[in-house]
Symmetry: D3
Subunit: 319 residues, 6 copies
């Protein structure tokens, strides 16, 4: 069960309102790398986890992320406080309000017009938060790695936000939130490596002959090779189809009725490679222009007299 | 700041696992009318609210909804506990696992295969939760009504879930959750009506001449009229265009350069109503069939010899 | 069956083009509180409704909302008429077009570049309309409340739009549309309360012992209590886990094979709380910095000579 | 199997960085008409196609579109190269960075803040790419038409982008990409018309009596009629319900238990057209104002003393 | 302005309820190729269109598609009528209701549980309708092609639905709807070709040297070549990078400060190709297994005593 | 530039068709952890990457993932080959086709009905692929961790799919794909750790006082503590608001006009905690039932005669 304390985990002091800055902050409120995503990620893992130590850690961190969601959301609300009153009370001229809404040069107009200056669960582009952002799959060796990566991403987004504001109170609160992501990443790392083995994740081993191969799939001037594709860790090979030694083609066993249907479909929809049909593009082509629309001659003009012959469909067979 | 207690708000007792039932429960976990939507709805309103009484109420109920999210998510996790172990440890034959995954007849295969039996933030159809479900707009007279409606909807979904299970522990916990929605609706109702006036919402009055009109937009055998479209509340009128007394048409002032561009665009893309062009459909039509594909004669056949005339584009002008 | 009249329900007179203002108007065209959402909401309810009076009302209002969609879409099209010609005919220099597209300071660049100045079914942030906005669930006591709330929200968004423009023709048409939302809300209210009882929605009663309880889930300096959490309507209680009097924990009956799989999974993925494993974070940590990246000493450094002992995995057991 | 060559299909030369222009280019990278959509469209058709000629064509064009995705993505990356370094290294003052992020007047702030200046798979409004953009349905007569239309749309978006930039290198590369769409459209046209018949698509013929009818569904001042609704191709008719000659109503056979449930539902939720219930709107209405909020008298006031009578629910029956 | 007639355009006669079949029908109600998409597509084009003939046609067909949306939605409602009453009135045992909800073997459980048996604006998989399905871009030469393709797709989906039901009334109504798509495609074809020229779409010509080239991007056993990649229409060439004759590489002009930031970023994040760092994977690898998890020796083991040397980070430089 | 080889990277041999199994396979085709997500993830990173070694690796692996997309998509196409012909040619009775479409017990009906048996870019639940799945943010220390986690997740999903099929050819091809994820994870790990330092990601250090703190946010019976929250790595503390030592409250500087508007808004929308207003719920409540709908007395009944007093709004002030 959750309970709430009306004091924030970190005090929020905002010098002056700024709906444009508020909008940028939404990245960590309702954005893909933001606090709602973090809280939901760990909370859902908590519900399904049976390992007592990990379970505890997951709910501790989930609950803290909810508390961070409150801190960043409060920053957004404070920065938007002017916009909130201005639009709802309409104490200024329309032109002034229009300028305030459209002038910030980012998507704060959505927050103001649609959400009344409250903190919406969208990112800074106005895109609604989606659980598609959550990559939990119910396996701890994978999920802990996902958590580690998620904390790393959140740390970076906070860093970028810090770089864009000189309001000292905002900067400080963002600095706290950023720091906690570092600490959380460290916890998830400890949890991952205290489960042994943790690589490869899951239970099934890989196929030995392909687990250490690196395929060079891109020709041309290469950069340096490194430990990610070199001995002793990797066997470096050139791209090759059918590495299983087979044909590289696909096959499937069909029942008789299936085959009959597929064959009929093939006949019904077969293309005639010998035809040179008149096409819709040609019907619409300026005769003074080529296929690109310039003034060259078209190579395959619209049907000429006689060309439709007996087929009546504007196609002609090649000899 | 949020804190958490490891005990649930309501004890969850599940008789036996059932991944199909678990999947249905997801409606109230990650579905549009579920507990995450409720918690997010009230929490974001809390952040922007300045009225002290409403603000308190919003965070109380938001926090309780988070606690309900935990209860329903725990039910899902319990019901899926068999599926979780079965697929990850693969202690049964493949055919058995395939049957377990595909056989429930609803979307539990997504939960098992993609989410490993954990409770995902999706609805029972596997659709990821979206903040598009949240209709908060930052005005209390509107938001409280949205909250009232949301609680009413959640009550109904719980009722439907209760109707579909005979597991007494599940039924009881769902009954608790359903009951709390009733209580929350009542709180939001009290809050709405303790703000006076609350109708119409917002600050601007309507246009007097249209605020009590009911337009009958649908001809045919009508049902009974009722208080929603009758005297004394309503002035019942037949559908009518241009109720302002104007032309019912649209006009806009264009700058000279704008008009020039629009005119040029009109000329460049004008359709010729006098033509009877050969079309792509006709090129592809079986000459033995009519436009519907049956064996009638086509009324506008593919270009015949001579029909393309001097234009060379397969169109002919009508006299 | 629908039919259409080429005259609008309300005449649209736009003084001059303004693609930035056009973009804001999209909130009521393809936005979550806009006219498409309204029309779809009532139309789908109409299809499933069997009560003759409500059914009639739903299709009347649905049809009027479609007519409003036409009015607001026409406003968008008029305001964008300059942009439409300008970009397609390219009669200005590139720099001028770039400025026109990017300079409005809101998302009108999407409408111009991607939709050619036509009215797209997006909100003012360019987010495509989604049926996730529609909260119909097929129960009249819930759906009518949803409709009431939806009309209240739409009224507010129109009010905000009216506050942002001084074009008298636009203001007047928006005023009409706003007024009709007031009237529609009143009709839905009448319809709700002419169905008795309408509360609680649905058929199942709540659990008596929890239907009048208000839980105080948030500690700290409270605002005033009010009728939403006070006697006589409510029994005010402090937050409490396991209000059912049980353990507050979750349990599930498992089949033997399920238990075996779960146990094996637990063993396979158990974390070792006694270890202090070297982690990826430590491998990547600047040795001159602490865990936060500052210059303090790390408390759990990367593996030192000998530390990996016999396990070879860089973890060490605590004594 | 795919392989890659480190050289682009077309050389990209960008004169100077411009994160605002970069953002517009995203339309053809991660936008609905962009190259990822094109590549995915043809690639998925390739996988299911059995006609050898079409199959070849589909993979050739799919692979080229992937190569175009690389070209347009490279343009985005080059235009954003300044933004990428600026924000991550924070070598400028916060105010400067804030201005750079918010000042472009379009959505480049999302690309910078959330994606670090890399090319994200979003459109120019920051909306993530969705496979909902792909309209492939697995029938060649439909899919080839979809491909033709998709190429036409992509051509137009490129044209609009070309109109907005005067960087010669960008203009040239865009010109190449635009030209290839023309060529691809021509290939798909040839492929469509070399499959005979291709209209109507599919196997079932239409109903002869309705395949050539044009219904005039919109009254009012009409534009000119043309070949799309005139003889000889079309039989022009006025809108008419129940064109089958039936009742125009819906019916369904119900089992006895189904009917019983439906009847009970109808009774439980019936509206009382004779009532004039007090409503929530009236409870919240300023008594000094009418239903629109102006100062007129309300026609249906809140419950007066005695009005609730014996029902106790604030409704009164009409005589 | 729209008006409505209570009679359907085509009478709907359903023999018996079938919630599974109802669910399939949703493809043409709220699916990507369904009637809402069609109506929205043409309606939004109508609003921006200035050509009088096309404008008329667009609103006629849009209005008819709305009427078709009503027909297919009515079919869904009739087929679901049993499910609607059953779940809301709960007149059967829980196990029976559970079976009815989960047993249809497709996604009808979503329609029943979440939407109460009403027709939701989702496809048959429960995915909410999205305006991302609409590909209108505001250019008639592109949009008419999109419309043609859309009608072709809708025709096919109807055909598939017809193939799956033997209810004669449903079959007949679907046949009508399918036939109308054929007729609409024919109208759009006529409208496209009565605008001359219509190819290439738009105003800018292509680059002559690339408008007739077909690139063979896929090696291996080819199918037959056809008119889509052969003379006289096409110049068939092998895949080739840098077809412009340039380097095939990308370049951008950077300001001095931009270059400084990029350089600093490069240094800060450079990878060391000479290192062979210990990795997280190795920390977590079972020492008895190789990198794939089998029992072979790992080629790059976790840090051995002494290997971390003076760096203390588990990496060693190659000589 | 990409090129293609018509042979697959791994031969696909499918014993017999199975549209249900095909549907499960979609998880790795168009699902969140599937091959399209992988390819797009690395490809977009490649475009923005400047480090030569990493850049090479990213395009090699991106290209291989595209080749895997082809393998898994080919498996889907083969498994669906029967369904493809069956539905399009309709060679069986309707009832049989209906059973084939609805009977698999998972979402294969979407693939068959909407996509004609081709491999759609959806997951196994029919949800369209979304770029919201891609978590690239343009910082290598974060992105490489995201890549590592993504490969771990993909490995697990393949393992689950392998557990569900006994078709040896399918099993083998899936085994290859699973193995390659292991190898790719290893490459990304090497790349991450060959960039030093890589922790914390980014450039800004954390706040020293919070970087090693673990907050215990969840009361109740705890599991064991472990290295993730213990000395020496962590300073374990109890949850505490305002850890900065401040008030834990939020403040913002408002301009005079902003304050005036906010104050006016507060007054206009203030709730009256002393009132006990009659509410909509009470208007709709069955007088014989309590607030939960049972037969108890309601504590706050609907307005009684006289109760509305002089206000006329059904509210009464408390003494």
């Amino acid at each position: 069960m959750f309970t709430h304390n009306k004091r924030l985990q970190y005090t929020v002091r905002v010098s002056e309102t700024n709906s444009g800055l508020a909008n940028l902050m939404l990245e960590q409120f309702g954005g893909p790398q933001g606090e709602l995503a973090a809280a939901c990620r760990y909370f859902t893992q908590y519900l399904a986890e049976d390992d007592p130590g990990r379970k505890d850690m997951l709910i501790d961190i989930a609950t803290e992320e909810l508390s961070h969601l409150e801190v960043i959301g409060t920053i957004v609300a404070m920065l938007n406080k002017g916009a909130k009153g201005r639009l709802s009370e309409a104490m200024e001229a329309e032109a002034e309000l229009y300028k305030n809404i459209s002038g910030a040069g980012n998507d704060s107009h959505v927050t103001q017009l649609l959400y009344g200056g409250g903190p919406p669960l969208t990112n800074s582009g106005g895109v609604p938060w989606s659980a598609a952002y959550i990559d939990t799959i119910g396996d701890p060796a994978a999920d802990l790695r996902s958590n580690i990566a998620a904390e790393a991403r959140a740390k970076i987004i906070y860093e970028r936000l810090i770089n864009c504001t000189d309001d000292p109170g905002v900067k400080e609160a963002l600095g706290f939130l950023m720091t906690r992501e570092i600490s959380h990443q460290r916890s998830f790392e400890k949890a991952l490596y205290s489960m042994q083995p943790s690589f490869p994740p899951g239970k099934l081993p890989g196929m030995k002959e392909f687990a250490s191969v690196y395929y060079n799939m891109s020709d041309g001037e290469a950069g340096e090779r490194g430990p990610w594709n070199s001995e002793p860790g990797f066997d470096y090979r050139e791209a090759q189809p059918a590495v299983d030694g087979g044909s590289g083609m696909a096959e499937v066993g069909l029942m008789k009725t299936e085959k009959a249907a597929i064959d009929q479909l093939a006949i019904r929809t077969r293309s005639d490679p010998q035809s040179d049909p008149c096409t819709g593009a040609e019907l619409g082509m300026d005769p003074a222009s080529g296929p690109g629309g310039d003034a060259a001659k078209t190579s395959s003009p619209a049907p000429k007299p006689g060309s439709t012959g007996s087929s009546g469909r504007g196609s002609k067979s090649k000899p």
